[in-house]
Assembly symmetry: C2
Homo-oligomer: 203 residues x 2
Amino acid sequence: MKLYQDERALNPRRVRIFAAEKGIEFSVENIDIFKSDHKTAGFTALNPMQRVPVLELDDGSTISESTAICRYFEALKPEPALMGGDPVEQGRVEMWHRRIELNLLEAITQCFRHGHPMMAELENPQIKDWSVLNQGRAAAMLEFLNGDMADRRFIAGDSFSIADIACLCAVDFLKAARLELTEDHGNLRRWHEEVSARPSAAA
Amino acid sequence: MKLYQDERALNPRRVRIFAAEKGIEFSVENIDIFKSDHKTAGFTALNPMQRVPVLELDDGSTISESTAICRYFEALKPEPALMGGDPVEQGRVEMWHRRIELNLLEAITQCFRHGHPMMAELENPQIKDWSVLNQGRAAAMLEFLNGDMADRRFIAGDSFSIADIACLCAVDFLKAARLELTEDHGNLRRWHEEVSARPSAAA
């Protein structure tokens, strides 16, 4: 298997951490989104949505969308389960993964894409008001999450899951949205320290 | 089980169709989001994100986020599989479901939330430029999807899946984004006619 990615991008990191937790290996081909490598005819044939990451299987077929690649890995190698065990756990992990994606990760990404000078060319037109609104959303979600995490070890409960991976990648990208974890985020900082210490975080 | 929903909203419909395809039953409690029923203390206790739908299990615990509720149903009653069978199929269904969500359903929703007078109070401030940008995105995705569907029966391949449900709900909500399927969308219209004729579409 081969993963097409831009190593600096947030979404490929989600896939790398997920695979590292499972001990799944693949080769990597780096492309440069700031040189519009993802808009070439060759890359568009791999993923018409022109996004990274893309996983190419050994038969040449492809899976794109980071969560879809993770889903493939989970089915391929169920242990350790990163998307929940029994039905309720599967639902609960997906719920938290979605909450992190929609309210934090996506908010930070939109703030970055529509507010950061670095993105002016790739995200044209940038809508500054949308960036500001999403910065507020991300800050509000951090505050909610910090309170909610008082009683549990990981984002979706007692076990490390794909929701922790999404949240770790989001928190490590906060700077791009001109946000950071502060002393007010004690529970999140405790959580962040623990998940950052896992070997997979360096994947 | 009980589903809290606003019957007119797009996301609860995704859950109702999914459950109907599986023959899963639950009671329903309707709330009115235009009367801010989702912002009461009682509803916030069910889902701190203040969104519908929410599924309440018989032990009083809850699962929110429509896809998370569907995931719970899929694990509870695997047949008929609506999220793919073998690992590659699971990845491929999740990929198409995400593509539909991110590029069509979410674009239509954002266009509606930030552009429609009906949403002026719930979505405050509305960002008109963001609405316009998303209308263009939705239109572009419809065009791409129509071309891509030339060779297959359903969104993710030969089998009906959760991706068809998301796309059906999106297409039936096009009017809210001041868009529609036209004569240029022959493949999508053929698909739309078929999935709309399934009994679940009326759920």
